[in-house]
Symmetry: D2
């Protein structure tokens, strides 16, 4: 870690700082420039609180050289992690496809979709029971009943189920859920992350729509440092000035995360774009840049004329996507 | 609300949609263009779930004309709200100054700061007991003990206390707190907002660093729709590409929010800029554009050489800020 | 186009506006709501200046339903454009690979790279002669001499050359250049675009790092409306809050642009990420989502120890990228 | 400047780099850590091309400690600059108010507005003759004729005139213009900046809507390094995810720029917000945080019903703004 001191720093202040840092078990390397003095901190700096350091008025700037995350850091754990959900593996060459509707609406709906996506090659079933909605007046999901319906669908199809948690108090309700999803809005709900870190559930951690890669990994670190290393990271689009798409899917995050961490990384092209007609090309792109899986929204009710979802595919379209994804997986081997 | 239908929409589909909308108690006005058909929805559209509507594959785009928030909407409640915290008023000409340290560190520290900021004209005391930190390895606050120390400082100074909540499970601990702060990272922690809506506490709701004004007001709506209308909004900077400042303080949000809502709006120039030398000018600017108050970080321990905080003022600097703020308040009357 | 009028609009004002719009040859459809009145404008609204309309104080908001671009609009020209550069085709299934160094440094350098990238399958040679640099103190390129060296490299390899223009006054200098690149910073240099529209050169138009897809297409429209339809669009990353990558490569722009326009779209994974180790995966991803080509930075001088570029590949690495890209192209057929 | 070397760097490579840097007249201070080696570069690093350095594959990261701008840097020129336009001064306590319409439309219009804004206290007249428009189909201004009309208005009111240039080839046309405005879209049109640097005109340089403070100052540096130091900087809003306002006015840029440079800084609350009802509060805020002036859009033609502009004030509203601004200027003395 590098710490740049302000010009007006007195020698007394500098020495006080250095001895404080050495007290933290670090070696301090001093380099005096024309205007500024630079301290090189050598040793385990992950314990150092950058904000606490920046708070000192003699400090102009602090730059980390080694990343502040340890458990998630590939440098300290070079081998790719493989997350095993009842035999369905993700990571290190194992590719998962999570598919299902945005919300669980009825037993008929979720069971029908589950059967269809399984037939098309999905390895897990997703469906929202608790829905975080921007407006209190919007549909908030079937809640506990939705979880029951997912369990029924699993019973019939044997697909592991993935569903989102929105409150630390719901953890007991998720006892039988296979993969607990932490949504973008809760990526920095640190108390929730700590509690999930005490479970042995697989956590599907989605990137916040305005969070950096580093913040994303620090949130994974919260879960891991509490004892749970079963984490799958999910890129789902970030917020930018562009308005054509609901979010801007940041696919460079996939290879970047693979450089920085050993955890598997999947992509959500449905929320990542907000447009059904972009799901197929972006699923292909995500696969081509090395994603360890996909999570895709699929709906059914063909009876209704008012069917197709803005960001959601029909089972037929989903099957088409999976076929292309599989071809690409062979091509990049 | 305006709903644009895709070109390929059949008359049958269009009529199904129209009768569905009419079933929701809306009048539907049809306007047929060369390429598209536009439906004008007239009546109370706040119940309509835009996402549900956009999900229909015959719908190209949905545009709200009237805002989806009701309780917070100035249109339905034109009078400025006045929030009263034990006699200290905020809004409709009543200006508050919340001051105190980033974190509560010790009784001596918090009591000393409390006395000093009160002497300089602060109307409330702030201090962090539970700290949401990006890294699990960073200091997380004194927690419950920190709350105790705040209560002691209140006992001595009679300043109402403001402190941040980070978990739905801590609400009982905040029983004696005067103003509960919801931080930027929890602005869309909807379960927490709903629970706070069931209390009668004053809620200081901070804008998420990547949330729009509309999302900000919808979060206030969550609290209000659960029954608690004691809300103070706080602009604290948004995330942009600029790296010189920690955030970009969006002061246009102040007059904009005053147009849209009757709730009071205060500004946090400390977190909003992340630089102590920008606090005074931005506090002045916030006051000049009509803010109903400020929340400013102040620290003490003058003994130590390693004192001044990057975004935090000394009591002397704070007094200087307040003097200028008061002059500006007179100028804009 | 939809125009929403403010509540306080008088009937007189409304009628004045309507007759003005009808004077522009539009049919106006009036829909009166509880609070607002909505005008549906039917006919060719591309002539309408939205800003001029928004400027009216009775107008609350204007929403376009049909896009303001005509020549670039797929709706009016459904067939994919094919750009032909001396027999090298781009678009409608024709894939181009533009490769070369960031800057032309010497004859030896550019000729050696040209030979190597041609051998690896590049279809065009790129190289910067005029370099737009953020700092006036940074290397600005070899200028006219650089163009000469590119022509020499073309003479030897027969690869068409692509190079960036930075001033309207340099157009005559680019007489012998095959493809004129307009860089991100000049995407909205409208005077330059108009002049290039009067030439018959192929224009490689790069997306501005903070420009929307719509602005991107409007800039293409500037060139086309001046008479030159030989345009290749290039996504090269947008500016976001993320700092790990120099830019965030917006690959969803590729299928999105293919929906909106008939022009070919290529991708620049080198500038789009700013990191050499991300070029291969992002080139693969761009190909998988349907890009019509790539532009990739390649450098040589293996003698020097200080070789490899942060966003630039060696010829060997480039060959490896092309091999994978070709496999993916077959997979997505 | 700090240069961090990658772990795999050989001693040979490191020494080659060091001797190269020393060859540039720098002293190099080496600090060896557990994983990385850090080089501290001491001396005049402004000549160093960071990108050239980052391009080396042994370099992991380069961090500047001293800013790369010299002429604009307050460190090297501590005294506030005062820009004198025919006796109208800007900077170091001298406050200017530039007012006028978005576009020059007719002699009657521009002369009438000029008289009115002068009466209300404007110190300069603005008006667009050449308009950079996103769409080629939108009104592009009266061009040369517009300049003539501005000169007439100056003849009658003696107000210096400010108008935007959009092409390097128009410089001769601007011979009689007092202040040449470089718009946001041309802030990085470096060839134009260099040419303007060869004139002795006062340049009103507007910040690009997606440019950092550092890039803004580097663009000023382009003009100054070419010989022209008569520059007024103008903050006019940046592009963010917020859609309620056209741009997000970054007022923290005002005190920040005052820390970094000696050049005067003014603010454009009209374009900065895009909403007339936000101009007064944001003009007040800009003044309160120390801006050296304002540029405000004012229009007239009260006869028409279709008058008031979305981001433009009537002369009466303008007068009201100026009265408040003057009160605030006294308050912050």
């Amino acid at each position: 870690m590098i710490t740049v001191l302000k010009e007006e720093t007195t020698e007394k202040q500098r020495n006080e700082l250095i001895s404080w840092l050495e007290g933290l078990g670090l070696r301090v390397h001093v380099s005096v420039g024309d205007y500024k003095t630079v301290l090189g901190l050598i040793g385990d700096t992950s314990k150092i609180d950058v904000e606490m350091l920046e708070v000192l008025d003699i400090v102009e700037k602090v730059t980390r050289i080694t990343e502040p995350f340890k458990s998630a850091n590939r440098k300290f754990n070079p081998k790719n992690s493989v997350i095993d959900v009842k035999g369905t593996k993700c990571g290190d060459g194992n590719f998962i496809v999570i598919a299902g509707p945005c919300s669980v609406e009825s037993e008929e709906q979720i069971v029908e979709i589950a059967k269809k996506v399984k037939a098309s090659g999905a390895s897990m079933l997703r469906g929202g029971a608790f829905k975080p909605r921007t407006s209190p007046y919007d549909f908030q999901g079937l809640k506990a009943e939705g979880l029951e319906l997912l369990l029924k669908a699993r019973e019939i199809t044997n697909l592991p189920i993935v569903t989102e948690i929105v409150s630390i108090n719901h953890i007991p309700l998720f006892e039988d859920v296979d993969v607990i999803q932490v949504g973008a809005r809760n990526m920095q709900n640190f108390e929730l992350l700590k509690e999930l870190g005490k479970t042995n559930k697989t956590i599907l951690l989605k990137r916040g729509f305005a969070n950096t890669i580093k913040e994303f990994l620090m949130s994974a670190e919260y879960i891991m440092s509490s004892g749970n290393e079963n984490i799958i990271l999910c890129e789902r689009g970030i917020r930018t000035f562009e308005t054509y798409t609901r979010n801007t899917l940041d696919l460079s995050a996939v290879p970047l995360l693979h450089n920085l961490t050993h955890l598997p990384v999947i992509v959500d092209p449905s929320h990542g774009t907000g447009r059904a007609n972009l799901v197929k090309p972006m699923a292909a792109a995500a696969t081509a840049c090395g994603a360890d899986g996909l999570t895709i929204e699929v709906h059914n009710n063909p009876k209704e004329a008012l069917s197709d979802g803005e960001q959601s595919l029909t089972p037929e379209e989903f099957e088409d996507v999976i076929k292309q994804v599989n071809k690409i997986r062979e091509a990049i081997v």
